[in-house]
């Protein structure tokens, strides 16, 4: 567990690394990449469900971060800042892929109509005992369920539940209001509860 002192040290050194990056130091950027690459990759992977695509998108995100590092003012953590880039890159990619694949776009409004705010979640299928489900099957079910969310909803629920980010950090990363984050979180949870109730109720 990190103490306050080590946290402060980490913050200072991160800011120092950013300052060096802004002066053109690629080694400092390399260090920032090393610190954040797994988290960034993992986040993207959970959104796109393809290792190769996640790799490419993570590369693209870091490259964009390097090119725009001069604009980083240090008002948030580097991680929150780069998350904004990661989300832009990944959500754009998901939208383009969806348009190519299905000839339609994700639309929050359309997706929201599918979930009644006052509805209770109902198991989609019969309850399956956790023991009988292989870990891969559970993972596949989760991936399938997440794939049914809009890119923004995916981003919100993953940042909240997996990354443990606060509403305001998510809002900053996505460039939207806290109210929008909470609303998206509401509908994403409802939908996932509908789709995965039999999984989480039997664990």
């Amino acid at each position: 567990m990190q103490t306050e002192a080590t946290l402060a040290q980490a913050d200072v050194s991160e800011l120092d690394l950013v300052r060096r990056c802004q002066a053109g130091d690629t080694e400092a950027f390399d260090e920032l990449v090393t610190r954040n690459r797994t988290r960034v990759f993992s986040m993207i992977y959970n959104m796109v469900h393809s290792e190769q695509d996640a790799w490419d998108l993570a590369q693209d995100s870091f490259l964009k971060a390097w090119k725009s590092i001069e604009r980083f003012r240090g008002q948030s953590s580097f991680y929150t800042w780069i998350y904004r880039i990661v989300m832009n890159v990944t959500i754009d990619w998901l939208r383009k892929k969806h348009v190519k694949g299905a000839g339609a776009e994700f639309d929050d409004a359309t997706l929201l109509k599918e979930v009644d705010p006052a509805s209770k979640t109902v198991p989609k299928a019969e309850a399956l005992p956790y023991e009988t489900m292989e870990r891969g099957e559970i993972r596949a079910r989760i991936d399938q369920a997440i794939a049914q969310l809009s890119p923004e909803q995916r981003a919100v629920i993953l940042m909240k539940e997996v990354e443990g980010m606060q509403y305001h950090e998510i809002a900053e990363a996505l460039g939207c209001s806290i109210g929008t984050v909470m609303s998206r979180l509401f509908y994403a949870r409802k939908k996932l509860q509908n789709l995965l109730r039999d999984v989480y109720e039997n664990i």
């Binding site: 950027f29 797994t38 590369q59 993972r139 109210g179 509860q193």
Partner: protein, 171 residues
Amino acid sequence: MKTFEEKWTAWVDGQLSGRELSEFEASLPDTAAAEAEKAGALKLGELLKRELSARTLTNEEFFSHQLRENIVRESSAPSRVREARSTWWTIPRLLWTGAGSLAVFLVFTVLVMHEKNPAEESQYLTQILNARVDPVVSPDASVSIFEAKQDRVTVLWTEGLQSLPADYAAK
């Protein structure tokens, strides 16, 4: 004013307190069902946290290596763009210069030819008409015209005529 969705999310995440919490809970039509939903949402969160946090990046060093290469490539790209841009500007410029020179040349040529002294021209304007008069009557007939501009004389030279067509008869 928070929407129902925002209040619900805040309630699930334990972000409501005091009067806001009591008001929200009082507004719920079925508290037991809502509590069950909240418990389900929390379990969902645990499931996602446990299952999705495990993903790690393999070949981490190769990832960084590839990124370094991309950065180097991108860093040299602007100069290449500048070079390409300067080449792109040179080609049209050369084309315009060439076209302009050609236009100037043609204008001067026309002017010089137009103002050329008639005395320097050849004596006969070679305007030859190889027209057959009537291929049935005179199959080998031909008509040639020679014009001497200086003397203001035109000579009509005919060959191989069997007879002169009525149109050609002197009036």
